[in-house]
């Protein structure tokens, strides 16, 4: 087994096991800690897929900021509910996610991902594509040619082609901050 494959399986098993723990543990604090493990494992996947930037962001924001936020929220909440209360929709709540999961697994197995990559490359050669840049998801041999497959390219995209969604995202954060203030502040 190649070294990469060993790493993959370690990450895969630990992330799935930790995710199961998040859902199944009754102690919400331990569940939160296991969530950090999931975040870190996903960061590992990003590294393996040559998406270093995403990996760094994942560790900084998810494993760092968000996990701490969740833990603070738990510590500041006086009576933490132990586990979920049962209700009459439980059978449906099991059935539908299982069906959805089955469908997604089927799709993931049934889709010929390599063929698609060829197709989309063929498309980019043949059809006149408006989009000149993509973020991630680029076949290895095309990396380097395309700005956006590396960090500086990503930054360039954010202030050039994608500056508009970037700015809208900043307004979104502003709206969220204003909302938090309005809803928490006394009259």
């Amino acid at each position: 087994m190649a070294f990469q494959e060993v790493i993959f399986w370690v990450l895969a098993v630990s992330s799935v096991a930790a995710a199961l723990g998040v859902v199944l543990l009754r102690d919400i604090f331990r569940a939160a800690l296991l969530l950090v493990v999931v975040f870190l494992a996903v960061a590992g996947f990003f590294v393996m897929m040559n998406a270093e930037f995403l990996a760094v962001v994942q560790v900084l924001i998810y494993a760092g900021a968000i996990a701490i936020l969740i833990i603070f929220a738990i510590m500041l909440t006086r009576e933490v509910q132990q586990g979920n209360l049962p209700n009459r929709l439980q059978p449906a709540a099991v059935l539908f996610p299982v069906l959805l999961l089955a469908a997604l697994v089927f799709v993931a197995v049934d889709t010929d991902w390599n063929l698609l990559q060829d197709q989309s490359r063929e498309l980019q050669d043949n059809v006149e594509v408006v989009q000149t840049h993509t973020i991630g998801g680029i076949p290895d041999e095309m990396r380097g040619d395309i700005p956006g497959s590396d960090r500086s390219g990503l930054g360039e995209l954010l202030i050039n082609d994608f500056v508009l969604p970037f700015e809208i995202a900043s307004m979104l954060l502003l709206a969220a901050i204003i909302g938090a203030l309005v809803l928490v502040r006394e009259r």
Partner: protein, 514 residues
Amino acid sequence: MPETNLTSNLHLLLPEFLLATLAFAVFAIDLLLPANRKKLLAWVSVAGLIGLLALALALLWGENEEMYGGLIKVDSYALFFKSFFILLGIFIILSSVDYVGKHLSHPGEYYGLILFSVLAMNVMAASREILTAYVALELMSFSFYIMVSYARYNPRSNEAGIKYVLIGAFSSAILLFGISMLYSTIGVTHFADISATLANAGDASPALWVGLALILVGLGFKVAAVPFHMWAPDVYQGAPLPVTAYLAVGSKAAAFALMLRLFAEAFMPSIDDWQIIVAIIAAITMTVGNLVAIAQHNIKRLLAYSSIGQVGFLLVGIAALSETSPLASNGVMLHIVGYSFTNLAVFVGIIAFFNMTGKEEIADFSGLADRHPFLAAAMAIGMFSLAGLPFFAGFTTKFYLFTAAANEGLLWLAGLAIVNSLISLYYYQVEIRHMYIQPAPDMEGKLEPASAHNPHPPPVGGGAEDASRHSPTPLIIGVLILMVLGTFFVGVYPFPIVEALDAATSAILPGAGS
């Protein structure tokens, strides 16, 4: 990459920039005003929006240009919806003034958030790239999350806020998952590229179809299509009334502006695959919405279900889209316009009623026609129009939609839609019967001490709380008159609007010459 033209046509975004500036100005002025002068903020917002509308029409008329490498397109479709959303913002702010003064704190942020959401809706209608559209959709949703929970000392409003945030986050996740599936299979996110890929795809992979399905589900949650509708009644009931009106009209119109462009410009080549799915969702949505509406006792819940029914009608239009005919696309847009006038007429009537009495059960409206004949007449007109009776907007717009569906071979859907219109007539009639035939419960006005009555007409809004208990303020009446006139205008003489719609449709469906 072409770096040169990134800023050369930046002036086309001037309305958006100024709209953001206006929002910031409102936030800033809010800091300087004493607590009893906050009404000025509404006038600033309205004046700014009117100026923006004039500017947008003067600046962008006839423009047809892409920006940021095709990320958004400033065309007649975008301009049509820009004018529509700005007008909607004006009317929502005007109908909020009294309510906000009485029932809500932090008016500055309230008007600012409305401006933010108008900005987001404008971008949603203009964007031709799926992530840009998504981010704009999120900006709109966030503004709504906050506005829904704005009555923070009201437990129902809190519940509505939490439900809306959770369902909104959940549906955004589904939408994003769908977008990521789409992107991972075809590697492009611009509408034009998606369309080119789908046209060449032939036997496309299951992952692509699941991606498209998840996008449809995510958008279905946002517009409250059945079976993704269960949040709507609770959120509509809990939200402050003007926000409910805005939610019912604005968020739906914007989501359909996005959907229409997405389906017409990006997903059109594979219409054979999704048409039947959208048609089935449309059929379930209007049937469930209209049937459940019959059982409602609260006027906001009734209108929530009725608006779910209207979403079904709009989805009929999406299912009937065609590359060669402008009928369905025109129909969707016309129905959005007509539905907005109509629904706002009803909602503004309810707001006026609530400002006077603080009640919102259907039975509370008994005898309204005796006490406030104009109010009752305006609401009755709105409800007849919602049901689709002739001479009102609802008839004309539904006529367009159902004709489009029949032309595309969806006769069963058109038939079902007509049956549903008949069902809806029943529960609107119940409300109208309360207003006109049931005697008044004989309590309002008599419980008030006579000293509270102020003979002078109130100077609109919060300061004159006691006077406004007895009659609707002139402002609300003015808005109501405009909405009723709009309902008749769309219903009787829709041709000027249809002309604008033709231009808008030819921007998103170049093949559909009229």
